[in-house]
């Protein structure tokens, strides 16, 4: 594990940590934000908007529970619309956090350390937003316990364990729980750092309680490292399974355009692609606003753009395979499905997504583009849109024009569809801003392990 972090600039690669950092400056830079007494004006401004959107979420959910799902545009034949699109979109975004914290840990990718903490926070908040949709999409959330959880209803009937929908409940709830646990375990030593640096008694006591009395003894660290490594090993197959199971919701059915074996890998790649876009959307302004450029360097930005490119290419391959399968299947319904996506009533959504996810992403081959932070930020927003449209295309075009022309219809979302979706941004952004303010946004102890001070020679 020689990070060679102070690699000379002549090697043309920005280091993972810019020169000039030691243990103390790393702790100081990261810990001063949660411990500060100030609430920066920009933060207050953003959280005001976020809280307004959170209010919109409450209003939309309240009206939904009062009126039922008639307030949505969802109706036959498009019986699955905004709620499932938004669910898949949010849960997909979460995947980047787990990829960064678990899979890249197993591959000893040291650049992940600066971004893993807030990518994991993003995962948790994204999964929370996603969870709202399956719970509320029936308009009767109190009944979700009967339909979702392994619990018999009043007539002794159990959920259908042969259905991917119930698999999804297990996959997503496990994913949410394990993400929270993994995140909290990662936080314990850093919360102890905050406890030890806290200037006020209240903060010292609060951070002391949540850090559980962590001392950093040799015993502590040994068990901690073992637990972290195994958690990473467990999270890796977990994260791959989550979007696989989400894709089963579609692939196990017989709807044209859904019933495809490519779905699991294609969904997982799309999830990571959209997740990295969201990490960039968050990291680029955050590193600027909080002056974290020396810890989240251009190397991180560049690597994230590369991951986005790689997964974007897999997604593009998925699109071409969908078209190929439609032709090769010789099924008139599959062929029509593809024709309808390209030239039917929702053709605009298909071509927008192709121009973003297949065409635009090719610009990431250029180093100049990957080094242009402003451009990358805009591109990451487009990718978020593109991946939302992908789910829209899959869900809506397949249902609106399925087998029998007499049942075809046009789906239009209502204002409440949009308000509920916008409201989840309020939940996400509020949670994320509170996280930035009160929790160390970068893993302090992990970043320190990259510094020469942490190096210990083997026994001679």
């Amino acid at each position: 594990m020689d990070p060679n972090i102070h690699r000379p600039m002549a090697l043309q690669e920005t280091p993972v940590i810019l020169p000039g950092h030691d243990f103390e400056t790393v702790t100081e830079t990261i810990a001063e934000i949660p411990l500060s007494k100030r609430f920066p004006l920009g933060w207050v401004g953003f959280i005001s908007i976020a809280l307004f959107l959170l209010f919109v979420l409450h209003m939309a959910l309240g009206y939904l529970v009062m009126k039922g799902i008639g307030i949505f545009g969802t109706n036959q034949p498009v019986g699955w619309a905004f709620p499932i699109i938004n669910f898949v979109w949010w849960i997909g975004i979460g995947h980047a956090g787990t990829l960064i914290s678990a899979i890249l840990l197993l591959f000893k990718q040291q650049w992940r350390m600066s971004i893993s903490r807030f990518a994991e926070a993003m995962t948790i908040f994204a999964v929370a937003c996603a969870a709202i949709f399956p719970v509320f999409h029936t308009g009767r959330p109190w009944l979700a316990a009967y339909w979702l959880f392994p619990y018999p209803n009043a007539m002794g009937l159990w959920p259908q364990f042969k259905s991917p929908l119930i698999w999804d409940v297990f996959a997503v709830s496990t994913y949410a729980t394990v993400s929270v646990v993994f995140w909290y375990v990662g936080l314990i030593p850093d919360l102890a750092s905050l406890r030890d640096r806290a200037t006020s008694k209240v903060k010292a006591v609060l951070y002391g309680m949540v850090s559980l009395g962590w001392r950093g003894s040799a015993r502590h660290w040994h068990r901690y490292e073992v637990a972290s490594l195994i958690l990473a090993g467990l999270s890796t197959p977990l994260v791959l399974s989550v979007h696989t199971v989400v894709s089963f919701d579609f692939a196990v059915s017989v709807i044209p355009g859904w019933h495809a074996t490519i779905f699991p890998p294609y969904f997982v790649a799309g999830a990571i692609y959209s997740g990295f876009a969201m990490v960039l959307t968050l990291a680029i302004p955050v590193r600027r606003f909080y002056g974290m450029e020396s810890l989240i360097t251009m190397r991180h930005i560049d690597n994230m753009a590369k991951v986005m490119l790689a997964t974007g290419l897999i997604v593009g391959y998925g699109y071409s395979m969908e078209a190929f399968f439609a032709w090769y299947s010789a099924s008139p319904h599959e062929k029509f499905m593809m024709y309808n996506r390209m030239f039917g009533q929702y053709a605009w959504s298909y071509w927008t997504l192709i121009s973003i996810n297949v065409v635009m992403v090719q610009f990431l081959w250029l180093k100049r583009v990957r080094q242009n932070v402003g451009l990358l930020f805009v591109m990451s927003l487009f990718v978020n849109v593109g991946m939302w449209l992908e789910r829209f295309v899959i869900v809506v075009t397949s249902l609106a024009n399925d087998f029998v022309p007499s049942s075809w219809a046009h789906y239009t979302p209502t204002l409440w569809d949009y308000l509920l979706y916008a409201g989840t941004f309020g939940l996400f952004t509020t949670a994320f801003l509170l996280f930035l303010r009160f929790v160390p946004m970068i893993s302090i102890f992990e970043v320190k392990t990259l510094l020469p001070q942490a190096k210990v020679k083997a026994e001679h």
Binding site: T177, S193, A218
Partner: protein, 189 residues
């Protein structure tokens, strides 16, 4: 919090509290590891090291044993798998058998996903809770926190403690001063 004397001024006799041990402070992980090696080689047995970053060597040098956590996690995972499978088998075959398209009631292949998810869930919870409980946490009070300098243990300083219950404790403070420590402090109970 009890105050302790400043660096280089360890006092052993006049303290009003019983001693938990003596603590030495180092600037680098390397100095701590070297000191820990020397301490163990000199026959001290009740020793603990504290560092702001994980140093795997320290556990090997001082405690020599590895944690049982991996076995617990394996057991947790297997228990999760058994729970998941048993839940589905019981609900689908025993409690409410239902013929759907003539498929077998115990169609184990469809039970894989929830069983798998519960394997991961139980194993992950065992990993996290096991790590916390085996580490004796939550433990809000510990004598080492009485040393004012110890607040740097989560920032950039490294510490070695020889506990008072060590049979050779009498010579501990003097010994630690010889290990290149930046300071040696009493740790009160």
């Amino acid at each position: 919090m009890a105050q302790t004397p400043g660096p280089q001024m360890a006092q052993t006799a006049q303290s009003s509290h019983p001693l938990h041990g003596v603590m030495a402070e180092y600037d680098t992980g390397q100095a701590l590891v070297d000191a820990a090696r020397k301490t163990m080689a000199s026959g001290f047995t009740k020793v603990e090291a504290y560092s702001p970053v994980p140093i795997e060597d320290l556990n090997t040098i001082i405690h020599k044993t590895r944690t049982v956590l991996p076995s617990l996690i394996l057991a947790g995972g297997l228990a999760g798998m058994a729970t998941g499978f048993a839940l589905q088998y019981w609900a689908s075959v025993i409690e409410y058998p239902m013929n759907i398209g003539g498929r077998p009631l115990a169609s184990w292949t469809t039970f894989i996903v929830p069983s798998y998810e519960l394997t991961i869930l139980f194993a992950a919870l065992t990993a996290a809770i096991g790590m916390i409980v085996l580490n004796g946490l939550p433990q809000p009070y510990h004598p080492v926190f009485n040393v004012e300098r110890f607040s740097m243990a989560s920032s950039d300083k490294f510490f070695l403690v020889i506990e008072a219950r060590d049979p050779k404790f009498g010579s501990a403070a003097a010994f630690l001063r010889e290990t290149g420590a930046k300071g040696v402090y009493d740790v009160e109970e």
